[in-house]
């Protein structure tokens, strides 16, 4: 038997004792293990796909999906297909439009079509719904009939907009999300000055997130250091105090900040009472950006402390001692020996806090006022109030890409392997 194996080694592919290929044999024995491993991750994998990946894919699809006009005005779409976009289209397009309006009114889809077009060109909704009511009784020539119903039907812009919206997919939501639009010649241009909003909000979101991350780092670093260096009986107590906010409802914590920070709140009262500020000089600390930053820093602090702590705990005290014994003063020792070793914790904590803040919703909604609103609040607005889900999806998509980009940049600069979360 062993002769056979040795001989096989010279002859080419290695054979197992029973003469089958050793590779096949190995695969066979490993297959069971692989199946078990796959079985173990399957439930979670399916859960994550259904509740996480799938909705995200759906949302991203929705941000470019544009079915309303395409599906509900098929004749107009067909008629406009070969229109060059100059002047106004011919009679057949107007006829198709009247037919589609009649049909859409009958199927009660006219509202959706009007709303969708209204997102692109404000004021169109009433034109469409109004015309649709009269469309049934319209006679040829339809061009004159429509223009008679509303002057806007004679405008080139309306027809260009309809032709643009006729495509089943569109980038217009993404353009809107970065304060841009298509002009009458289908060029991408900036939105009018007074209608620009999202770029500012994105900028503010990044700024607030950065500020919160820096504040968390400044406040969390000393705490994490204490946690890692104190004797166990004290550090346990401290750890509980760090984790305590985790066990308290987010809503309770946020509202208690309102109690503390409002103009007639505890802190202002205290400062007036001690004479630091005058009665008229009460500081507005909430319902603005300051309120958002303070409350979010408080809420996200543990996400900074824990990664820092887990890194610091692995740094033996002998490093600092070695630096001291080599003649470096305590500050130099800390800066040159201790701090560089905490970089993985700083990176992990900052990234975590930053990514969490970038999508933060509830706190800015409660204490942000007007100037403390972040992009998530606008996403929520478009989901719930304006019902412009496409725009909400586009805003969310940009946010997602931004976070992925940050993660990519982090892994390039610091290295993901260097990140330590716990």
């Amino acid at each position: 038997m062993s002769d056979q194996v040795t001989a096989a080694a010279y002859a080419g592919p290695v054979l197992a004792a029973d003469g089958t290929l050793l590779k096949d044999r190995l695969n066979k024995t490993m297959r069971r293990r692989k199946l078990i491993a796959a079985g173990l991750v399957l439930p979670l994998g399916a859960f994550v796909f259904i509740t996480f990946m799938f909705p995200i894919i759906l949302m991203l699809y929705r941000s470019v999906d544009n079915p309303v006009v395409h599906d509900n005005m098929p004749q107009t779409v067909a008629a406009l297909e070969y229109w060059d976009g100059q002047g106004i289209p011919g009679e057949e397009a107007f006829a198709a439009m009247v037919a589609d309006l009649v049909q859409a009114r009958k199927s009660k889809e006219i509202g959706r079509v009007a709303t969708r077009l209204n997102f692109e060109m404000s004021g169109v909704r009433s034109v469409l719904t109004g015309t649709a009511r009269k469309a049934k009784n319209m006679k040829a020539p339809f061009k004159d009939a429509l223009i008679a119903a509303n002057d806007l039907w004679g405008e080139r812009e309306l027809w260009v907009t309809i032709k643009r919206m006729a495509k089943p997919f569109t980038a217009s939501q993404y353009l809107a999300a970065v304060d841009m639009r298509f002009d009458i010649d289908n060029n991408m241009v900036m939105q009018d000055e007074d209608r620009q909003i999202y770029v500012t909000i994105f900028g503010r979101t990044l700024w607030i997130s950065l500020l919160v991350s820096v504040m968390c780092l400044l406040l969390g670093y000393p705490v994490a250091y204490l946690l890692a260096t104190l004797p166990l009986k004290y550090s346990n107590l401290l750890m509980i105090m760090v984790l305590l906010p985790f066990w308290t409802s987010l809503l309770v914590r946020t509202t208690s900040w309102i109690v503390l920070l409002q103009t007639n709140g505890v802190i202002n009262d205290l400062m007036v009472w001690t004479g630091i500020i005058s009665e008229e000089g009460r500081i507005q600390m909430i319902y603005n950006q300051m309120g958002t930053v303070i409350a979010m820093t408080h809420i996200l602090l543990p996400f900074m402390v824990l990664p820092l702590y887990s890194v610091m705990k692995t740094i033996p005290p002998s490093y600092m001692r070695a630096a001291l014994s080599l003649g470096a003063n305590p500050v130099t020792s800390f800066v040159r020996v201790y701090a560089p070793q905490t970089v993985p914790g700083i990176g992990a904590g900052s990234l975590l806090v930053f990514i969490l803040s970038i999508g933060y919703y509830i706190t800015p909604a409660l204490v942000g006022g007007r100037t403390g609103q972040m992009i998530s609040n606008f996403i929520a607005f478009h989901m719930q109030k304006s019902l412009n889900w496409g725009l909400a999806a586009a805003l969310g998509g940009i946010l997602l890409v931004g976070v992925l980009f940050l993660y990519w940049a982090y892994s390039k600069i610091v290295g993901v392997d260097n990140m330590k979360l716990g």
Binding site: P316, S318, Y319, R321, A322, A323, L324, S325, L326, G327, A328, N329, P330, T332, S333, R336, V337, P340, Q341
Partner: protein, 367 residues
């Protein structure tokens, strides 16, 4: 500048307590001479590392004074003491290369760039790691890291270097090799070394003097040979090397010698070191290689009958466990020399030893 004959380091009545209840170091007085290699040896918890930490400045002395070069360093911050230190886990900075590690103490001393380069190179050559300057500590083997740690502690030319069990993490062979290397570096540089270990062979190999610690007290401070051959008390006799312990009661005193009636045996003539008065309990310490099997009649005053219980062949010698005077853990090392007595298990033998090799000591019951 102090007189070169004065000790470099003095511990004067130093006490240390961490909790205010238990003294970890009890009234320590110790002078360390310039250029000396002094080892603090003892079991864990004996206070030796605490002494080292007080000398390095990481732990304050609760009472007493520590002087370095004639001046008190009780209130001197660690980084101003100028003492090199090698740590148990090496404590090489992982984010710096080997060369940067070595340059660190020179940079914080604001030395010139070219001076630093020259000194780093010299230090690396000293530990035979000339080509490893650009590597990270993690890319080195344990022995190489150890060498870098030694080089780093020496690169800024300190007068005094402390080593806290530096070889503990190495395997046996490497440890022995490093012992010689450290010893040679010490000899060639003339630096004063205070070395802490719980490994007695390490202490005996490297030191000029060894301070045996137990229970916060130096039990004996002596050169290695004296420590082994002339232990002052039962703890040292048992802690250093292999030792036969015979318990008994002092029955007579005659000058430097005494007679001890061994429990279950007979009267043994012994050299009185620390035995109590007549009638008090004492322990006898006898090195296994100082016992002769079947000696010629009249050669030794102490001759007893015994029975071989066990034989272990160890190449250069044969370890024989013999039942003597009612003690069945009596070890005799029979050298594997030409014409050595042939023993067999269960055979009856006679064992004998001199008065000087049998030291009457106090009774140490162990912790």
């Amino acid at each position: 500048m102090a007189n070169p004959d004065d000790p470099l380091v003095r511990f004067i009545e130093v006490q240390k307590s961490y909790d205010g209840e238990i003294l970890v170091v009890k009234n320590l007085n110790l002078d360390i001479a310039r250029g000396e290699f002094l080892t603090m040896l003892g079991p864990s918890g004996s206070g030796k590392t605490t002494c080292l930490m007080m000398l390095a400045g990481f732990e304050p002395a609760t009472h007493g004074e520590i002087t370095l070069d004639g001046t008190s360093i009780n209130n001197l911050a660690p980084h101003k003491r100028g003492i090199g230190m090698v740590f148990q886990n090496y404590a090489l900075f992982p984010h710096m290369t080997v060369a940067e590690n070595l340059a660190f103490p020179l940079e914080v001393r604001k030395m010139g760039k070219s001076d630093i380069e020259a000194k780093v190179k010299r230090a690396l050559d000293m530990v035979q790691l000339g080509d490893f300057g650009h590597r990270r500590p993690a890319q080195l083997s344990g022995g190489q890291q150890q060498r870098v740690a030694v080089a780093r502690a020496l690169v800024f030319d300190p007068e005094l270097v402390l080593m806290d069990e530096p070889l503990g993490a190495l395997d046996k062979q490497l440890r022995e090799q490093m012992q010689y290397e450290i010893k040679h570096i010490h000899e060639s540089l003339g630096v004063t070394v205070v070395y802490v270990t719980h490994d007695q062979s390490e202490a005996l190999t490297m030191s000029n003097r060894v301070a045996v610690f137990n229970d916060g007290v130096i039990q004996q401070l002596a050169p290695p040979d004296e420590l082994y051959e002339k232990p002052n008390n039962a703890f040292v006799a048992q802690f250093i090397g292999e030792n036969n312990k015979l318990m008994g009661k002092v029955t007579a005193m005659n000058g430097k010698n005494c007679t001890v009636e061994v429990d279950g045996g007979g009267p043994v003539q012994a050299f009185n070191v620390k035995a109590g008065a007549v009638g008090e309990a004492a322990s006898l310490s006898l090195r296994p290689e100082r016992v002769e099997i079947n000696p010629p009649d009249g050669k030794y005053p102490n001759v007893f009958n015994g029975k071989v219980e066990e034989l272990i062949y160890l190449g250069d010698h044969i370890r024989s466990r013999v039942n003597v005077c009612g003690h069945d853990d009596f070890i005799v090392k029979v050298p594997n020399a030409t014409g050595h007595p042939q023993l067999s298990k269960g055979s009856d033998v006679r064992v004998g030893w001199t008065v000087e090799d049998c030291r009457a000591l106090d009774v140490y019951e162990g912790p």
